[in-house]
């Protein structure tokens, strides 16, 4: 393919994939009362409005908490599991792998409904807790996959060398395995954060009074208002994701693990 043709194709592709975000940004900067592009005059009023809406503030806080706690919990479960599957001759390791990755295979909306009906209602646990558990399970596959990938790049004998030099089994893990899979763990955490933060289908059924994630809140808001504040919020979210991914790529080479 010659250069001109290649760049034409790529430009068209990027217009389709990235263009909409530029349009959101434009719409968000609008001075008028309704959504329009090109905007009627420029202003930051809609960005200001986003910050003044209480429900957005609280759902944003919930989403951030979920985004931080779920990957953390998933890593606490997933790191030992990926470690064991890489190092030990675990009987049924394939079954475990399948089980752990089930959350990505089964559509989220089904998981959300199932948890609502058979976990939240019968046991009476809070929606917030259920959301946290569900998101943990949802990011667990990423944790296991990313950490497994970095375990595979690590030779098993360095732990034996550490044991020979005086480490306990746990000491060898902490001193020579953990520092070497740190990048993978951080990558899994970031991926988990982004996944949980953007997640909709599971949270669709798992939301209740006072407990709503930001994306669900946005959908609800969009159904009743048509002002550009949602565009402003969407632009902010896009910017947040881009910043996180850019930083992660810059400092960690995130794409190596995905």
């Amino acid at each position: 393919m010659n250069r001109i043709a290649a760049w034409t194709v790529i430009s068209l592709l990027l217009v389709f994939l990235i263009g909409p975000f530029i349009i959101i940004l434009g719409a968000a900067l609008s001075a008028g009362p309704v959504m329009a592009f090109p905007p009627d005059g420029l202003s930051l009023q809609w960005f200001e409005k986003v910050f003044s809406i209480d429900s957005f503030r609280s759902s944003f806080a919930i989403s951030i908490w979920l985004g931080l706690c779920s990957p953390l919990a998933a890593l606490i479960l997933g790191v030992p599991a990926s470690y064991a599957m890489a190092r030990y001759d675990v009987r049924g390791a394939e079954l475990v792998r399948l089980l752990v990755s089930a959350p990505i295979i089964v559509p989220g909306i089904i998981v959300g409904l199932a948890l609502l009906r058979y976990l939240v209602i019968p046991t009476g646990i809070g929606i917030g807790l259920a959301l946290f558990l569900a998101h943990t399970a949802l990011v667990l596959p990423y944790a296991v996959r990313v950490v497994s990938a970095s375990m595979d790049n690590l030779r098993a004998d360095i732990e034996e060398a550490a044991v020979m030099l005086g480490c306990s089994r746990l000491g060898a893990f902490l001193r020579v395995v953990l520092p070497n899979i740190r990048g993978g763990i951080l990558a899994a955490f970031i991926l988990g954060f982004v996944t949980s933060f953007n997640e909709v289908p599971v949270a669709l059924f798992l939301s209740g009074p006072g407990i709503t994630t930001l994306p669900i809140d946005m959908i609800g808001y969009m159904e009743i208002t048509y002002d550009p504040s949602v565009a402003a919020l969407a632009a902010l979210l896009a910017a947040l994701s881009i910043a996180i991914v850019f930083a992660a790529e810059r400092f960690l080479g995130l794409s190596r693990y995905v």
């Binding site: 393919m1 043709a5 194709v9 790529i10 592709l13 990027l14 389709f16 994939l17 990235i18 909409p20 975000f21 349009i23 959101i24 719409a27 592009f37 479960l77 997933g78 030992p80 599991a81 470690y83 064991a84 599957m85 190092r87 030990y88 001759d89 009987r91 475990v96 089980l99 752990v100 295979i105 559509p107 989220g108 909306i109 089904i110 998981v111 199932a114 009906r117 058979y118 558990l133 943990t136 399970a137 667990l140 296991v144 732990e159 044991v163 933060f197 953007n198 909709v200 289908p201 669709l204 994306p215 946005m218 959908i219 969009m222 949602v230 565009a231 979210l237 896009a238 994701s241 991914v245």
Partner: protein, 280 residues
Amino acid sequence: MSSSVFGNRTTGLSLTLPAALFAAALFLVPVAILLSEAFVGPEGGFSLSAYSDFFADPRYRAVFWRTLKLGVLVTLTAAIIGYVAAFAIVSLPPKSRGRIFGLVILPLMISPVARTYAWLVILGRTGIVNETLGLFGIEPIRFLFTETAVFIGLLQLFMPLMIVSLISAMENMPSDAVPAARLLGASWVQVFLRVILPLTREGLVIGGTLVFTGSLTAYITPAILGGSKVLMLETLLYQRVTVARDFASASVIALILILMCFGANLVLRRLATVKRRTAA
């Protein structure tokens, strides 16, 4: 029996068990109960009546076929555009290739709500497309709440997955395969069918599975761009539960969705291996 300091089975098991049990408790059990619900008849006992009721209703059948149709269309379109795009990207020098690759996967990291919302702005009654048409004196066209809108939204949402799969397949392709075939006088169509397609089949299958299952199970895009006019299985499920508390239909839809995803997985994987054998 000798035991290795590192080969201890019980330690291995005790480290994997928490994750496995957690996944089982949170997924396997509740989802299994949900799926089993549709097999219980109105008077208890095993029954397939929920299924026959579901498929007896023409509106539901239409939703089923629409979901399948959109899934197939989005996958095919993504594959066609994906090949052209991946081929263009792979032909770039490594540095710009990396940058473009980054831009292609960028949307994957952005909230699907934000992504879908953008199309509302573009395709809406006062959106860009209609404004532009208005300049030429053309009456506004209704895009929102049509299958076209859902199709466009899904395509934008999932195309990066196809492109990424195809790019990694093409990068593993021997670098001289295409020039060699061209030198031997093959036309571009022949090059594609005889060289590129067989060598990237696996990437196509992976990408195809991701796009197809993604399209089937997407919720936000059909909900926002299709609304209640263009229901897909996911939005129908949500509607049945929230509007009618019709859990039997929800359970039926859930199983259909899961089966479709698994089915797509199996069929596409089979396709990849069979073709590889005949190609070899």
